[in-house]
């Protein structure tokens, strides 16, 4: 170790010891950091780059901070500002620029220390939508890979594992994990921006629209830069990995193939992330610009929007007339015709069998006539006797009732009806008739 190196190492140890002895700490609450950033921005944007800031100016910035935080208590704001200045002084982010050391008054002046400027700048950069950290990591990754590739050329079987494989697996993997973390951070920032933009568009002021456009431009610039860097880095990285893989495989060094394949797979996911985000962020960018063009710039008074709201609340009173025609014959060289087999239609099955009901010929009138003719040989004819006789021969009672009036007419033609003889006579279980007695004067007509 040289004398210079020894001196540097001793100095560092001295600094470390003094920090530990003095119990130095930098504890800054949220509000203090926000105030520090405002002070830093104020000093950087003032004409001539002011070196110090006065007490009233700090209180004015604190008032702005309270309005963002929507704090309404004036008294506590004063007290909070005074306490914040004290803390910033104590943590050496601010230092006094005037002669007074003990009293904080309106004449006091402060300037921001390098520590304070560093804290403010880091927070400012951290919020900015930028791919620079990712770019830096990818460049460092490639540099390290090139170094490993050079070492691999001189490696032997004994140190291949330690010097090459372990470095690839541990160091490169750590770098890639860092890359994933930054990618995740960019995703979160873009998500935050995506959720924030509607509020800017709703507000619609010149400043908010301008800020919206700046943010979108920033996003597109970031993704374009990232795409270039990622693709270039990935190409170089793949070449180096293949070189290492070939060297390892040609010398039959163990673990080469799996380790190289693993690194390649992770690198592929990095490039795919970049390509996917390019599509999504550009799409979002286009949609917001389309909105700005069609709604914000053209319809400043929101007349179109109001007209649409009015139209949508009721039945449409107008419509579009559209062409409806079949297309032309297609100018194609070949037009394959697909033949379809026509199947026979299925019909419902019909039942053609009929139940035949045999109906016997109605011979009851004939039988009644025969019985009447046989009774007509006597002097008197009694209706009940004739009907009982035909019932005994098996005639149906209902058929008998059906033919009854006709039969009675036939009987009456054979003689004279005895009107005095009318008693009710039962001829069967269900039939009871009013007797009819005919004093005959000859054969009846059939």
């Amino acid at each position: 170790m040289s004398d210079n190196q020894i001196a540097v190492a001793t100095e560092i140890l001295t600094v470390v010891k003094s920090i530990l002895d003095e119990r130095r700490q930098v504890v800054l609450p949220t509000w203090d950091i926000a105030l520090l950033i405002l002070i830093w921005n104020h000093l950087n944007t003032e004409k001539g780059l002011a070196l110090s800031i006065s007490e009233p100016e700090i209180r004015h910035l604190a008032f702005r901070l309270d309005s963002i935080e929507d704090s309404k208590e004036a008294q506590s704001a004063e007290k909070r500002c005074t306490e914040a200045i004290s803390r910033l002084l104590k943590s050496e982010c601010l230092s006094r620029a005037d002669m007074n050391r003990l009293v904080i008054s309106d004449d006091s002046e402060y300037h921001i220390t390098t520590l304070g400027a560093g804290v403010a700048a880091w927070n400012f950069e951290h919020e900015k939508f930028s791919g620079e950290p990712l770019t830096a990591i990818l460049k460092a990754f490639n540099s390290y890979l090139v170094k490993i590739a050079l070492d691999a050329e001189q490696a032997t079987d004994r140190n291949w594992h330690e010097d090459i494989m372990v470095q690839m697996r541990v160091v490169l993997n750590d770098m890639l994990v860092n890359v994933y973390r930054h990618q995740h951070g960019l995703d979160q920032q873009h998500e935050h921006l995506r959720n924030f933009i509607p509020s800017l568009l709703t507000e619609g002021s010149e400043e908010s629209i301008k800020y919206c456009e700046e943010q979108l431009t920033n996003v597109i610039r970031t993704i374009i830069d990232l795409q270039e860097v990622t693709l270039a880095s990935a190409n170089t990285a793949f070449q180096q990995i293949r070189k290492i893989e070939e060297m390892g495989l040609s010398n039959n060094f163990s673990e080469t193939e799996e380790t190289c394949a693993d690194i390649e797979r992770k690198l592929n996911s990095v490039t795919q992330w970049t390509m996917q985000r390019a599509t999504e962020w550009v799409e979002h960018h286009n949609i917001v610009h389309e909105f700005l063009r069609t709604v914000v710039y053209i319809d400043r008074q929101r007349r179109v929007t109001e007209a649409l709201k009015h139209e949508v609340a009721a039945e449409p009173q107008w419509t579009f007339e559209l062409i409806e025609e079949q297309s032309f014959v297609k100018f194609r060289e070949s037009d394959e015709q697909v033949t379809t087999l026509h199947t026979a239609p299925r019909r419902r099955k019909r039942v053609y069998a009929h139940d035949i009901e045999e109906v016997s010929i109605d011979d009851l009138p004939e039988r009644l006539t025969i019985i009447l003719n046989s009774e007509a040989l006597g002097d008197e004819i009694y209706l009940s006797r004739l009907l009982k006789k035909v019932l005994d021969e098996g005639a149906d009672e209902l058929d008998l009732v059906y033919h009854g009036p006709w039969f009675m007419g036939q009987i009456m033609e054979t003689g004279v009806v005895d009107r005095e003889f009318r008693q009710w006579t039962r001829i069967s279980n269900i039939l009871e008739i009013q007797e009819m007695k005919v004093l005959k004067n000859g054969l009846c007509k059939s």
């Binding site: 649409l308 009015h310 419509t319 579009f320 409806e324 297309s327």
Partner: protein, 217 residues
């Protein structure tokens, strides 16, 4: 030759069915831009105007009787206007101009009075089955708007195209009492008003015939 190109076949089918050619159909859009004069004179012979909207997309307007025309149904009109309104909400940028069918149904149910929904989408339906019918008609109208290329639907995600602005533009001017403005809507945007529908032969055809993609109640 322009008319022997497959691109011509595709755009001709779309235009003759009342569809729009948007910038997102880049190869078709480019084809029309490159051969605009030739295509315009071609369609003029059919009594049609090949119109380029200020927002960039192309569509066909009938001027005569050579090509048949039809009127867009009320459900399609209302839904088109509602989607055009939704695209004017800054919140749409959050999802990069896309939304799902479920979100659309929920939004339309919340924003539009029920009476209007019933009159437009289910005029002949009894109260018990109205909601189901309204939802069915909305989905049916969505399909028609997709066929006419006012929007694209992919796996339940709806992305309106720039042609949806036709509804917004007409809504802005439809209340204008100036006869010149009304005439411009009739001749340059293909708009038909309700009072003109009863006399128009096209609307009479609509009463007797069946509209493509629609159902008859």
């Amino acid at each position: 030759m322009v008319f022997a190109s497959l691109n011509f076949v595709e755009i001709d089918v779309i235009l003759r069915r009342g569809g729009n050619i948007n910038r997102s159909d880049i190869h078709l859009y480019q084809f029309i831009c490159d051969n605009y004069d030739e295509l315009r004179s071609f369609y003029e012979r059919f009594g049609c105007n090949l119109v380029q909207h200020p927002d960039g997309f192309f569509f066909l307007l009938s001027r005569g009787d050579v090509l048949r025309s039809r009127l867009m149904s009320k459900p399609c009109m209302h839904l088109g206007m509602f989607i055009a309104l939704k695209m004017r909400d800054p919140e749409i940028t959050r999802s990069s101009g896309k939304f799902s069918t479920a979100q659309l149904l929920k939004a339309i149910e919340t924003a539009v009075p029920h009476e209007t929904l019933q009159r437009v989408y289910a005029p002949k339906q009894r109260e018990a089955s109205q909601y189901e019918r309204i939802a069915e008609e909305i989905l049916r109208a969505l399909k028609v708007l997709e066929d006419l290329r006012f929007l694209k639907v992919k796996e339940d995600t709806i992305r309106p195209t720039e042609a949806i602005n036709r509804f917004a533009e007409v809504a802005r001017h439809v209340g204008d009492s100036n006869p010149a403005a009304r005439e411009a809507l009739l001749t340059q945007r293909g708009v038909t008003f309700s009072d003109a529908e009863e006399d128009s032969p096209v609307s009479m055809d609509m009463e007797n015939g069946e509209e493509t993609g629609e159902s008859q109640d």
